[in-house]
Symmetry: C2
């Protein structure tokens, strides 16, 4: 098939007619499909059902002396700290175990900085301007938090090696209003890129203008590899150790959860950071809550056991995810390959494939797909203020539908891309 | 035995010698006892172990169509809403289900008011003065929250019918800086008083000077009766309904949890309020988190079933608590009765007995008890800024020790009261 850009008006119109017929046919079936969020599929959830068997009324509910059923042990069970630390390859001493959602810790941390500042700095709510760097495309829910608190978001271009570090360094080291930076450093949302060692080292070595500048290191997909073989997995250095080495021990808050290891909503999450930062987290936490769910922590450690257990579990999950990613890739390649109307990423882990349409087409493609019953993440979501300046990025989330559903959903997607692009090309003729 | 106030110096000194001998004897045993917090005992926790059997790997994990293992249903399972609403006798429609700790909702609500105001009001962090009314003695962790946010706390005297309403009305209706009021309306912490219907009606009918004034109605002990017979239980009207009737639909946030029904830390909690307030809660929640633990909600509804289930469960718990309360009362009566050196409350539910020592003695009594290995709640804790103006109130929390341990702990307590009071009386001779 000829690249669309080389077709003349007649060819494009003929193609449009043909594709429209196919599109209308699918549309008439009235199917409802969802590829909008990074949501585990049923088969993936089934892998964790054994977690419901590890505790029953005859169980020993103690963890290293702590009765998990009662108050106490605000910072979490030792064995849970160990497991979560191992997942991100950091020291268990760095860890505070929280509740069910790492997003909640990030929100609360921003909120605390607004009302109480960071380690004695002026509370951000009293400052005229507070800015966060936002690698783009990025995770929409990060951007929602900073938007909610009126924090100005500065987009920084992502590359395959992480955010454009020249820009990051210039902004962080030159502007005292820059107080934070969002990062999904491994299998990034939505592109699936992993920060290179050089990027991580440069981040760790920055000399921020603001003493209360912090990197929000959301290591959400730390163990979410598509492939079981180690050499086909991405690796990320322990930024906390690198920061310490570089004389910046307090510059990073790291987050991870088991939301996409066991059950979303019924998982366990953590924050890892320096001793001084942990003290500040705990001072706040002791006022905020009576402690987190230690029974669920116990359930997790009894079920997952240790990193071998996690690896074994995630290998099965990776296989299920890979099947879906491959189904999408196959369709994209066979249907869009060589047409010059879109590119997409090939991550080795995580939950998403990032699709780059022709400039100015993303919003229309998402709307078109919706017509035929396919819900995609709203275009622009991966950008601050939901504004994609090029209107080209679409996040594909293939984990929830079954492979069968994906076939149809994928068809709707490629048809939508084609039809919208043709219209765009015709407009420009 | 003669009242201490009528003894002369000689008598007091002789008594002191005798009591000191007994005190030193216990002290020499080196026992460690804890009556400092409202913490369930082992036998009470055992009552909920069946909750670990209701879900296993073969369970249907759906609740009215919702897969509890996945994202979604931000405001909680319908059946959980119903159960929590029934516990406080309000409409399930009023309810948003949260995580494991109602204290956390209260904290977050104050925090949100600081950063975002209340329904469009000026964010409290931009105001010069924000005040909360604090019925005293009250719950220390409420006061810690308001202190943490720099909110000025105004103590209001508690009576057996609730806070002194003349004062409350005057302050709420006369001062725009008064933005909130802490209440534990049923089996109050620490006295165990329940607000009378008249008190609740007067609260509901107030005309606050500040449009963003809210009552924080912490109905923590709603179902925590000591006695199974209905006529021996306290009853509290549904303040949300009364507020609506009085034209103040948005004035109250109500909170409750199962922390002391099932497992502290592994329970489920809620906020109940008007539609407009719930909208504001949810707008915040959708940014703050990906949702709460619905698997634990399912576990709770499968285990407790309905209000009959809750009543049956809490009847057993009440029996265990009552045995402990009775052990304490018996000791107080036989050892302190008629001496004129202390009074105490006889609640019909909740977790605490409140003890009033002679003015100026509470701090010294707590310190004295500590000498012999008994940890009590620090004196002053039940007051804003931890300052009991009369230094007379001590909170007794008898639920954690066994009845056997309570015998010894109780002896230490009464000996400490006696010895400290004698010193006080001698000082004043």
């Amino acid at each position: 098939m000829k690249a669309y850009g080389q077709m003349n008006t007649e060819e494009l119109l003929a193609l449009k007619e043909e594709l429209t017929a196919e599109f209308e046919d699918i549309k008439s079936r009235g199917t409802s499909m969802d590829m909008s969020r990074g949501k585990p599929g049923e088969d993936q959830l089934a892998l964790s059902m054994g977690m419901l068997d590890v505790l029953d009324s005859s169980s020993d509910m103690k963890s290293q002396g702590t009765d998990t059923r009662n108050y106490g042990q605000m910072d979490g069970l030792l064995e849970m700290k160990k497991l979560l630390a191992d997942m991100v390859e950091t020291d268990p001493e760095n860890v505070i175990v929280y509740g069910n959602a790492s997003l909640n810790i990030m929100f609360d941390t921003v909120s605390r900085s607004m009302t109480h500042g960071v380690m004695g700095s002026t509370p951000w709510c009293r400052l005229d301007r507070v800015k966060f760097l936002c690698p783009v495309p990025g995770y929409d829910r990060h951007f929602s938090i900073t938007e909610y608190f009126g924090i100005e978001m500065i987009p920084v271009e992502m590359t395959e090696n992480g955010p454009d570090m020249d820009t990051v360094e210039k902004l962080v080291e030159g502007d005292e209003a820059v107080k934070g930076m969002w990062c999904v450093p491994k299998y990034s949302n939505p592109q699936g890129y992993t920060y290179s060692e050089e990027t991580v080292r440069r981040l760790a070595a920055m000399k921020p203008k603001a003493a209360d500048f912090r990197i929000y290191w959301d290591n959400a997909y730390a163990v979410h590899h598509l492939y079981g073989e180690k050499e086909r997995q991405d690796w990320l250095p322990d930024i906390l150790a690198l920061c310490k080495e570089a004389g910046n021990p307090d510059m990073v808050y790291e987050f991870v959860s088991t939301s996409k290891v066991t059950f979303p909503g019924a998982g366990v999450c953590m924050a890892a950071s320096s001793e001084a930062n942990r003290k500040e987290f705990l001072r706040h936490l002791q006022i905020q809550t009576i402690g987190h769910d230690k029974v669920n922590q116990l359930r997790h450690v009894r079920f997952l056991r240790d990193m071998d257990g996690v690896r074994e579990h995630m290998k099965k999950q990776g296989e299920l995810t890979l099947t879906r990613f491959e189904a999408v890739w196959k369709l994209l390649e066979s249907e869009l390959g060589g047409l010059g109307i879109g590119t997409w990423t090939y991550p080795r882990g995580g939950y998403f494939i990032s699709f780059e349409a022709m400039d100015g087409c993303a919003r229309a493609i998402v709307a078109k797909a919706k017509e035929a019953g396919l819900t995609l993440t709203p275009a622009g979501s991966s950008f601050p203020y939901k504004k994609d300046p090029k209107d080209s990025n679409i996040r594909i989330a293939p984990t929830y539908p079954s492979v069968e559903e994906l076939q149809l959903a994928g068809r709707v997607f490629v048809l939508s891309v084609k039809l919208v692009t043709i219209d765009k090309l015709l407009e420009n003729k």
